[in-house]
């Protein structure tokens, strides 16, 4: 077999020092991305640092009302947590709409943030792919690009969607990611964490070499808010979103006081739709308002040969979600 070094870390510091700044090293949590891609020979780490023994499995409410989630909290545990279900329904729903029970039982919070794209041209090991082999081109742009390719945030170098549902909810909620690395600890705003492909699609996130995600801290819940996640796809389960929306609203009577909207399945990163939110704030709830906001959210979208339907579908995901939440 292709050999690699395996080390099990007992502390965050040990994990970081074992990993070092080695760009051929990888942290192993649930393994649902890493092991999958190692088996199909797309990721070839020389050093694997197993972090499953670290004490990062807790969920705690901070004094300022924020909720701090350990990197190793599984998707199942997070979705079923009472506080999350009560104060962040959008996050619980997003988690439960993803993957399968078996995968959610293994997959972790930090691992979900770090998951790789589903683009078949990335995964086949043969086609040109700027993520896998920078400079080789993007086979998806003129290829088959129906289900796991984006219409927002694409570049001429990469059009793969970020596949996560959880991250879309977190983008709407607002969060910070805490990392620990060779240079110590720092915090990254969730919306700055994932990078647009631009002309460096091989760079997917803002981590420096060797940095390890230790926590994701959710912004305090909006008081009196309602939230929900709506995921649209072909079959009813076990499929990545064709389009999805995470919406949080607070109302005063029929007036929208606060609105947060994020999109999945259509963007190259978890997509916060700030302009759509502005179009909602202070408005009376009405189908026309929702539709206008949805149009604004998808403004500037670039359709490709097989995924143009994601533009109206993304709009529908927003309108229906808002309609249900404000009913």
């Amino acid at each position: 077999m292709r050999e690699f070094n395996y080390a099990r870390a007992d502390s965050t510091r040990q994990a970081v020092s074992t990993h070092g700044r080695n760009d051929q090293a990888a942290y192993l949590a649930g393994g649902t991305t890493l092991l999958d891609l190692v088996k199909i020979d797309i990721m070839r780490p020389e050093q694997v640092v197993d972090i499953n023994r670290l004490d990062l499995g807790g969920i705690e409410t901070l004094d300022d009302g924020r909720v701090r989630i350990g990197a190793l909290v599984t998707n199942t545990a997070l979705a079923r947590d009472e506080r999350i279900q009560r104060d962040y329904a959008v996050l619980s729903e997003a988690l439960l709409s993803g993957a399968t029970t078996q995968l959610r039982n293994k997959a972790t919070t930090a691992g979900n943030v770090m998951q790789r794209v589903r683009c078949p041209y990335f995964r086949d090991g043969v086609s040109s792919c700027n993520k896998r082999e920078p400079g080789s081109g993007c086979a998806a742009i003129e290829g088959h690009n129906r289900s796991v390719h984006a219409v927002l945030g694409t570049s001429e170098h990469c059009i793969a969607t970020h596949p996560s549902d959880m991250c879309v909810a977190m983008a709407a909620i607002g969060a910070t990611i805490t990392v620990e690395g060779p240079d110590g600890r720092r915090e990254i705003d969730f919306l700055d964490f994932h990078l647009l492909p631009n002309d460096t699609p091989e760079r997917e996130h803002n981590l420096k070499p060797g940095e390890l995600i230790t926590h994701v801290t959710l912004a305090a819940p909006l008081e009196n808010s309602r939230s929900g996640y709506l995921k649209l796809r072909d079959r009813a389960s076990y499929q990545f979103a064709l389009a999805s929306s995470a919406v949080i609203v607070t109302l005063d009577g029929d007036t929208i006081v606060e609105a947060r909207v994020a999109l999945g399945g259509v963007g190259t990163k978890p997509w916060r739709a700030f302009d759509a939110e502005k179009a909602l704030k202070g408005q009376q709830i009405s189908e026309a308002t929702f539709k206008r906001a949805a149009e604004i959210a998808l403004q500037g979208a670039t359709p490709y040969a097989h995924n143009a339907f994601k533009i109206p579908l993304g709009q529908q995901a927003i309108v229906r979600n808002l309609t249900t939440l404000t009913a």
């Binding site: 078949p120 009813a236 389960s237 499929q239 533009i311 109206p312």
Partner: protein, 739 residues
């Protein structure tokens, strides 16, 4: 026959072994000193292999040998004859030469001491190609580049063209279906080992006898020197009917290395080198008179095939006889593309063919202004006009009416988009279903043993459908022995020759042979009982009866075990060889599907919410496994309707969605909340003594059309190209300049 066990619904006798993991599947076999093979598969779809860099792979840990076109034994092709028992779908042998005809074709095989070492070494092999830029990626490209070639099974009666012109109502429409891939849960696998010039191979196979025949031809050794075993199969759906190149590669590698070799086909290659349902384009021209009676029907289809073999998808096979029409034309043509060779997939021909026919019938009914249910009742054939024969048994009108009533068809408002509930628009659709009833020759052996058990052997297979169980039911019915006293052994060429598990013919083929062998065994037992030393020494054996395990005469019964023990005999044995169906009748199965769909235009979501199907397959042997077959086929049919398609990159003919995540089949959450299966259960005693016609395939036929027709009722959109993806139903999808 007692009515208690035939027609009852006992659970599968092999069920416990399967759910506890005790049942051995092909790759569970690990003969001593076994090595592992791992393939290197072409990454181009057309061209030649110009070089192989093997040094790094050879030095990789555990590598035993690496086979390729320059290093592989000279073998022979199997002439692909089903009657002679040596059919293969892809006649080209692996590593025969350096030509590449499809992406995913074997170009080399690493054999190593472990699976991991074989795989790691395989990834170190560097293959260079001379790619031919003219790879044909799809049906359109094939027709444009090379045109079409005539296929078989054509039919013509009357003057279809002449009667079309000037008819009161007519339609001329074209339907297409994409490539669908079988994707059984268990991947294809071979474990081959040799002792001298004798080969034993464990295979996930739907036809051990055919595989033995093909291996005999390919390796040039007598059939008696080959044993193919396939006791359990994680399903096949047709992909395992005929042997594929991996089995030849494993067998040859085992002979050359002198070690048993296991070779499992990786999931991605389940989309390339083990068959698929081909892409089809079907032109339908129908015409009726004023009263809505069909006067002309033409069904002309083209399907894709490989550059190595011609596989014909007989889309018009049902069209020939389902409806009464004096002027009819059915034709099949093929066009070559750079894909592996297609093969039968559940209801070959009929599944894509009835999507076109039953969609077209719906369109024709609308054109003629007749309710689609009435239209069918008015036009169903009462006899097989293509063969000029009566049907042995046909209850399609009753099936259609019963299902319609249960479904509530008559409550529908035929106006498009008129039925709503909440956000959803409800649509009702229906379609007929149909499948040929086939019976083949078969041998079986039954032993009534002195330990009180019966032992049955037959070299057919149980592919998950329940064959083990219905064979045991048959023996139980005749002998009165309980199921737990009956052992059934299938899937091994050392048993009497049985049929390929396909075509829905296993029940009709196997049970009569098993019944005859059981009676033979009883006759032998009677012979022992009436011999000089027997319990009924002076009795005429014809006056003995056998019931509940006892031989009886004049109210005096002797347990058959005592008969055997009294003479120190181990068993009484019977062997039978039964023949295929005669041609006195047209033997077919019939039925109808009624489907409710719900289209939510606000989120562009289509779901199938209700299915009622009535099926006329003759007598049902096991009500539980039979229902399971139809329900499974219905779900597979709704996958065909709105999920399934193997996508190929139009630029280079490479399959794109070659995994379980992106090749979308229905999951549990897609199950309609209500699936109601009505089994009419009219014995077809002209067909065989059990009156059973087989049930594995009919359930998928017509399903995609019933869904499409319901979608039309809900949305007013006729989707003639499967699958019914949501974008085909959405408004305001921006136009994109195709690259």
């Amino acid at each position: 026959m007692s009515d208690s066990i035939i027609g009852a619904g006992p659970k599968r006798i092999d069920g416990q072994r399967k759910v506890t993991g005790e049942a051995p599947y092909a790759a569970d076999h690990h003969p001593d000193n076994m090595a592992y093979g791992y393939g290197i598969f072409s990454t181009i779809a057309r061209g030649t292999v110009t070089g192989l860099e093997l040094d790094a792979a050879r030095q990789s840990p555990g590598v035993i040998d690496i086979f390729h076109h320059g290093h592989f034994p000279e073998l022979h092709r199997s002439p692909a004859s089903m009657p002679q028992g040596n059919k293969v779908e892809e006649t080209r042998l692996p590593f025969e030469d350096n030509h590449v005809h499809y992406e995913g074709q074997f170009v080399a095989l690493v054999v190593a001491d472990t699976f991991e070492n074989a795989r790691a070494a395989a990834r170190k092999v560097v293959v260079s190609y001379q790619a031919d830029d003219n790879a044909i990626a799809n049906l359109d490209q094939g027709v444009k580049a090379h045109g079409t070639k005539k296929g078989g099974d054509n039919h013509e009666r009357g003057d279809a063209a002449g009667s079309f012109d000037g008819a009161a109502h007519s339609i001329d429409v074209t339907y297409t279906t994409p490539v669908e891939t079988h994707n059984p849960m268990e991947m294809h696998a071979s474990v081959a080992s040799w002792e001298g010039d004798r080969l034993t191979i464990y295979e996930s196979s739907q036809g051990v006898v055919q595989q033995r025949g093909a291996l005999s031809k390919i390796f040039g050794i007598p059939q008696e020197h080959i044993r193919v075993e396939s006791p359990f199969i994680g399903s096949g759906f047709g992909s395992k009917l005929w042997m594929w190149p991996h089995a030849v590669a494993a067998s040859a590698a085992a002979r050359e290395t002198g070690r048993p070799v296991q070779l499992v086909v990786p999931r991605e290659q389940m989309f390339t080198t083990t068959g698929h349902r081909p892409e089809t384009r079907q032109r339908m021209r129908l015409a009726t008179d004023d009263s809505g009676r069909l006067v002309s029907l033409r069904h002309e289809s083209i399907n894709t095939t490989s550059f190595t073999d011609q596989y014909v998808e007989t889309c018009g096979s049902v069209t020939k006889s389902l409806y009464s029409c004096p002027n009819l034309l059915v034709s099949h043509e093929t066009t070559q593309v750079n894909r592996g060779t297609p093969t039968s997939m559940r209801a070959p021909g009929a599944a894509p063919g009835l999507f076109a026919l039953e969609s077209a019938i719906d369109e024709m009914a609308h054109e003629a202004g007749v309710d689609p249910l009435e239209f069918r009742l008015n036009n169903y054939a009462d006899r097989d006009e293509s063969q000029d024969l009566d049907f042995s048994s046909n209850h399609i009108r009753e099936a259609t009416q019963k299902a319609a009533e249960q479904f509530g068809w008559h409550d529908r408002n035929p106006e498009i988009g008129s039925m709503r509930e909440g956000h959803e628009i409800i649509g009702y659709g229906m379609a007929a279903c149909n499948w040929e009833a086939i019976k083949r020759e078969c041998e079986a052996r039954v032993s009534l043993r002195a330990d009180g058990t019966a032992h049955v052997t037959c070299a057919t297979q149980d592919i998950g459908t329940g064959t083990y169980t219905i064979v045991a039911q048959t023996v139980s019915d005749i002998t009165g022995l309980p199921l737990e006293k009956i052992t059934v052994r299938l899937g091994d060429t050392s048993y009497p020759a049985g049929p390929v598990s396909g075509g829905s013919w296993t029940t009709a083929t196997t049970l009569p042979a098993v019944a005859a062998a059981t009676r033979e065994a009883i006759e032998e037992l009677k012979g022992y009982a009436t011999s000089k030393k027997g319990d009924f020494a002076d009795v005429d054996s014809d006056s003995l009866t056998f019931e509940n395990g006892q031989l009886t005469h004049d109210g005096q019964g002797v347990d058959y075990v005592d008969v055997l023990k009294g003479q120190r005999l181990a068993s009484a044995d019977g062997h039978a060889h039964t023949q295929g169906a005669d041609d006195r009748y047209s033997y077919r199965s019939f039925g109808a599907h009624f489907v409710e769909v719900r289209w939510d235009p606000g989120i562009s979501n289509l779901r199938v919410s209700r299915v009622v199907s009535a099926i006329d397959v003759g007598r049902v042997i096991n009500s539980m496994t039979a229902r399971n077959q139809v329900e499974g086929a219905i779900v597979m049919g709704l996958g065909m309707a709105h999920f399934e398609a193997t996508d190929y990159d139009a630029r280079n003919a490479r399959p794109v969605n070659n995994n379980y995540a992106e090749y979308v089949v229905p999951v549990h959450a897609d199950q309609p909340p209500e699936v109601d299966v009505i089994l009419l259960d009219y014995p077809d005693l002209e067909f065989n003594e059990f009156g059973a016609r087989g049930i594995g395939e009919i359930g998928i036929t017509g399903m995609a059309a019933a869904v499409a027709n319901a979608v039309y009722h809900a949305t007013g959109k006729r989707i003639r190209d499967l699958p019914i993806f949501k974008e085909k139903l959405m408004e305001n999808v921006p136009e994109v300049q195709s690259a």
